[in-house]
């Protein structure tokens, strides 16, 4: 077949194939970049009507009312940042502990299976975490934590301001907990890989000087990968900011500015997931897309920083 279409010498034919293949590879890479640019452009265009209608106030208003067609992003933005922040607060120390335990202290026969288990669990779909949050964590939390606290605090006190809310377990705090459980295995796995890149000789030298394991971790392992560790934290944060399904199940989906930790709320991703297919008008849909653009800019900044910090630590 080939000889039917090809003319010229073998080298010339091979040269044409060379160029074509190289072009195909470059085209694929370009397509990938176009996709990323396409996300930004399509979100900007789709969200434009909302930005035009509400101006910068879109970012700072907490009204979200499809009836009067007034939309403000402050509620979901605050919800996104607060849930991701609390999730990180819980997940970070645990993930660090797990990673250090696996690298430094765990018996050699036990470490690989535990590490593999944790990595595999990082791959479980987020919808599973969401269902666990809704059917197991939320009822337990409502009964054993939220209700006792609600009954023991006096209205108007500082504790009431922090912990008031409908005691059904679907609130900002439980959503953050589910997020924490979700990013925990992921962060632990990446931390572990990072700690394993610290050369064994350096650590052994410190042990040779009489350091205890705590001192080795504190003065050798952590300082030598500090920069990349911040990168890993940013990766976890990026994941928590953009996570959709695990949060949508359990956050309660209220658009107003959350009044307390145990109040229902929403994140950008959960708002889009809940309302997009049922958007009531052009402005409603545009506002949701505009929320998407805000989320994109937030995660892009965090993830770009993460990758920048992690450069050189891999491979």
């Amino acid at each position: 077949m080939a000889s039917l279409f090809s003319t010229g010498t073998v080298t010339e034919r091979q040269g044409a194939g060379e160029t074509l293949f190289r072009f195909a590879c470059a085209a694929a890479a370009t397509l990938l970049m176009t996709a990323l640019a396409g996300v930004v452009v399509s979100l900007a265009i789709g969200g434009w009507p909302a930005f035009r209608a509400f101006g910068p106030g879109f970012l700072f208003t907490a009204t979200w009312n499809p009836v009067t067609e007034i939309y403000g992003a402050a509620g979901p933005i605050v919800g996104t940042i607060v849930t991701a922040g609390i999730a990180l607060l819980f997940a970070l120390p645990l993930a660090l502990g797990v990673a250090i335990f696996l690298v430094e202290f765990c018996p050699a026969t036990l470490a690989p299976p535990v590490a593999v288990a944790i990595e595999l669990l990082a791959g479980i779909p987020s919808i599973v975490y969401g269902m666990w949050g809704l059917f197991v964590l939320a009822p337990w939390f409502a009964e054993h934590i939220q209700l006792p606290i609600a009954l023991s605090t006096t209205p108007g006190s500082w504790a009431d301001a922090f912990f008031s809310g409908t005691p059904n377990g679907a609130n900002i705090f439980t959503a953050s907990l589910v997020l924490a459980v979700m990013i925990l295995p992921y962060m632990a796995a990446v931390f572990r890989e990072l700690f394993l890149t610290v050369p064994a000789q350096v650590r052994e030298a410190a042990y040779g000087l009489g350091c205890t394991p705590l001192e080795v971790v504190r003065s050798i392992t952590i300082p030598s990968v500090k920069r990349s560790m911040i990168g890993v934290i940013m990766l976890g944060l990026g994941r928590a900011l953009g996570e959709t399904m695990a949060v949508t199940f359990i956050i309660g989906n209220a658009h107003a500015m959350p009044r307390s930790l145990f109040d229902g709320g929403s994140t950008i991703a959960s708002t889009i997931a809940n309302e997009f297919t049922e958007a009531t008008g052009v402005l409603h849909e545009a506002s949701l897309v505009a929320l998407g653009l805000i989320l994109f800019l937030m995660t892009f900044a965090v993830l770009a920083l993460a990758r920048f910090l992690l450069q050189g630590s891999e491979r």
Binding site: G17, L20, R22, A24, A26, A27, A28, A29, L31, L32, M33, A35, L36, V39, S42, L43, I45, G46, A95, G97, V98, I100, F101, C106, I118, L120, L121, G123, I124, P125, I127, V128, Y129, G130, M131, W132, F135, V136, L184, P185, T212, P213, V217, L241, G242, E243, T244, M245, F249, A269, A273, F276, T277, V289, L295, F296, T299, F300, L303, R307
Partner: protein, 280 residues
């Protein structure tokens, strides 16, 4: 001096204890989730899950339409992701080493790798659904392809860079051009690793819900035609889990168990293959 040593020993003991405790807590959470999944999902696994379509509220049924839809969309998405991802990864590993363009593409690919998948869904909605006035299986497959491609790119680049330079030089010495060497020698030597990338991508997209919500939408009937709205396991689970009907909730748990097991199995196979090809 004695007391200082004792102090250091104590501090170390506490630290080791805390790290062990963190591991125990993490594993306890994960065991709790798996236990919930198995105890609530196992009773729903059976032949009817695969042979009967989703039921009306309040009656019994299976998830055949959702499983078929998921397989079709993941298959199409994965095929596209493999072609684009392997070519782009090859470009990064073979043609763009050390170049600025390569560094930028690699950086943006890494960002895309962890970008929120719901935004991919919005993008594909604006790109394919809104202009053509219709949710479709094709739109869902395109969204899944965008999610899987960065994973394939990353694995492809890693595995190609692991192939020894002597392999390429030997091919060149026989008079083969660069493209021929890549296709006939490097790809062939790296095929297990390339397959790993595909498997990891597949594992990732088979549980993705967010990008499908407003691209394939979902469909309560059996449909194998991708130009129509199509059901998928994750979106059906989402809908059923939030419903008020016991039968639907049970099906949601059975479906969740099905997906989790599938993802775990594919990930384990990918891992074994990765070890064979020395990919970390």
């Amino acid at each position: 001096m004695q007391s200082r040593a004792a102090q250091r020993k104590l501090a170390n003991g506490i630290f080791v204890g805390l790290c062990g405790l963190a591991t125990a807590i993490a594993l306890a959470f994960l065991v709790a989730i798996l236990w919930t999944l198995i105890s609530k999902g196992l009773s729903g696994i059976g032949a009817t899950l695969f042979t009967i379509d989703q039921p009306a509220p309040g009656s019994k049924g299976g998830l055949r339409n959702a499983i078929v839809g998921s397989l079709i969309m993941c298959g199409m998405g994965m095929a596209a992701a493999l072609v684009i991802g392997i070519l782009a990864g090859t470009w990064l590993a073979e043609y763009a080493v050390g170049t600025k363009a390569g560094a930028i593409v690699r950086f943006l690919n890494d960002v895309l790798l962890s970008a929120p998948s719901i935004l991919i869904g919005l993008f594909v909605y604006e790109l394919l659904v809104a202009p053509f006035q219709g949710f479709s299986g094709y739109a869902g497959a395109v969204a899944l392809a965008f999610v899987a491609t960065p994973i394939v790119v990353r694995t492809t680049e890693d595995i190609l860079l692991l192939q020894p330079a002597a392999l390429r030089e030997a091919g060149m010495a026989l008079g083969a051009g660069r493209a021929l060497v890549i296709r006939r020698i490097v790809w062939r030597a790296a095929r297990t690793g390339l397959l790993t990338g595909g498997l990891l991508g597949f594992a990732r997209i088979s549980g993705e819900t967010a990008p499908l919500l407003f691209t394939s939408l979902g469909n309560q009937f059996y449909n194998a035609n991708p130009s129509q709205p199509m059901a998928s396991l994750p979106t059906t689970i989402f809908q059923f889990a939030l419903s008020a009907y016991d039968e639907w909730q049970n099906l949601a748990w059975a479906g969740a168990l099905l997906i989790a097991v599938a993802v775990l199995v594919v990930n384990i196979i990918g891992r074994i293959l990765a070890r064979e090809s020395h990919l970390s």
